[in-house]
Symmetry: C2
């Protein structure tokens, strides 16, 4: 018997027969919920929330209670990894992340380390998972996560968000060897970090390659997939999901990875993706988050169209990107309820 | 006999045999050249340069003289169209475009008009083309351009750049009828504007759908391609190029348009694109602009790899996006010279 009252998502990932599609949303724990904003208001800033296990666990559980999703995802940020490696970040209100120190040359390489004690530096994430697990009391599984190495390199090099990530791409072309050194270090820490999350109770882990889409096929293969593969191969304890946003051209490569699930953004056609990926993996996604700005009947129609395109194949319903912060929670519920009311024949 | 001393690009577009691939670069007239910055420094701002025909013509010709490209592209901005329709813009240094007025509801629709006299409102662009044409004296053809309707709508709705263009996408889902009304107006003006440019001497026109990639396949078909098609069908005087950045999923639809050339961003594989588009159209692109940050020998190798992937098929060498402003002009020349030294078998 499963340790979860609702283990629909795990069954779907394993390719077992399920009566309906499981559903959760990227960024479901966050600004869309007034209950989240209320927890957040009691703390200094976003970072304090990430680093306070009791509160991080609390907002992790909220969408399970309030939205009825089939999985929780630990409330955290992909930037905890570069910070643990030696590059502290700040999250600046209305602007995004900011790093004082960046990696631009060999001389900067000693700013980051991959021989850190992950359990010590990132113990607060493990603790948040443990507390959330107790709080959920077996209702649904918890998803752990990390940024994929290429995406983390982007922040280490740029020190902030970017439209083009041209400084990071410059590094790939101008000094590929240094790029590989950085990516190797990130990969080592990410593997240890995901194993820490699994030990703490994460039942699934997801890799977010948010900036995959700024690379072309050749570069993503050399600097992206290569390291994602190393992580997939190292994580054998629980199922792994890879979400490489924008890397539509890499789907045939991602299909060969040892991960169980591949995330799709809203640009990627379901039927086309299924053809490329084959039938051995579960797909996840991919409603355009902007659909949730429409009226209820449009949301219902577009969600049903999406579900129909899954056929009866292995699929986890989700958005094609994180839910946008100004989305009405009632619209979110409409999406989730539509999925839950849709029977797989 | 051709009216141009160098009509390589026109021959390639028509599918005639040429000894080498023609080459030009998006944003070739601009910040990469010290000679451009010197002209720009003598004027109040970017907008004054766009609106001063003599100066706009001067910077249009510079890359032909200084870089040896096979075509000039008129120095202008896609935002002159929303401005002519009723929404003035400012170009804010280091921030980008800004519109005081935006279109968010039916009530805002009367802010824009498609019954304007384009020759009056945008006569300065036509004049710049005429002056550039005289200055070039038949050396190479001039490319005219406009933003595609979806991309122009994005600026009309957001009033500035955006990472997600979620306000524009919200409109598509929440009020598709209003979106179609706006797109129709933009299309009407764009057709008249391109015809004005052609009358002034543009020998090719290019549509830039810079934000195509934020839409999924269904939405791009309904709100993007539909209007691009109307423009392609209306422009019969000169060859048309369509560059829908990020809309890889739409290549099979774009292949059916009456345009002669399809632009590719650096994500789009050449061979794959050729398979999708067929052999009846010319392709254009798609070196990653970040390759120009590498050393000379890497630029040469990557450019040759690209040229080899064209086979002997119809292709115009270009970058997969506008050249980035901090690119060394010598690196740009290396790209251009490599193309010009590469013989088609």
């Amino acid at each position: 018997m499963s340790e979860y009252q609702n283990d629909l998502i795990l069954k779907m990932i394993r390719g077992e027969k399920t009566p309906r599609f499981p559903v959760w949303m990227m960024r479901q724990a966050g600004r869309i919920l007034p209950e989240y904003r209320s927890v957040r208001a009691g703390l200094k800033d976003f970072k304090e929330l990430v680093e306070t296990p009791e509160r991080a666990a609390e907002v992790t559980i909220q969408p399970v209670d309030l939205l009825g999703v089939d999985a929780a995802i630990i409330f955290s940020d992909i930037l905890v990894v570069p910070e643990a490696m030696g590059l502290p970040y700040q999250m600046i209100e209305k602007k995004g992340p900011w790093f004082d120190k960046t990696i631009r040359s060999e001389a900067d390489l000693n700013l980051i380390s991959d021989t850190i004690d992950v359990a010590d530096r990132l113990g607060y994430v493990a603790e948040a998972i443990q507390i959330a697990r107790r709080g959920l009391n077996g209702r649904v599984p918890i998803i752990g996560f990390a940024g994929a190495p290429w995406t983390i390199l982007c922040y280490m090099v740029e020190g902030e968000g970017s439209k083009t990530f041209s400084k990071s791409k410059k590094l790939l072309y101008a000094n590929p060897q240094l790029a590989h050194q950085i990516l190797t270090k990130i990969t080592n820490v990410t593997i240890a970090y995901l194993k820490l999350q699994i030990q703490a109770g994460a039942a699934i882990v997801q890799l977010f390659d948010s900036w995959a889409g700024v690379l072309g096929p050749t570069e993503y293969s050399e600097f992206g997939t290569k390291y994602v593969k190393q992580i997939c191969d190292a994580i054998t304890e629980v199922p792994v999901t890879v979400f490489a946003k924008g890397a539509y051209y890499a789907r045939h490569e991602l299909a060969k990875l040892s991960c169980q699930t591949i995330g799709l953004d809203w640009n990627m056609g379901i039927e086309e993706s299924r053809k490329i990926v084959g039938t051995d993996k579960t797909l996840q996604g991919n409603l355009d988050p902007c659909v949730l700005y429409a009226d209820f009947s449009t949301i219902e129609t577009k969600t049903k169209n999406l579900l129909n395109s899954f056929g009866n194949q292995r699929h986890i319903a989700n958005l094609g990107h994180g839910v946008y912060p100004d989305t009405d929670p009632e619209k979110v519920k409409c999406f989730i309820e539509t999925v839950k009311g849709f029977a797989i024949n």
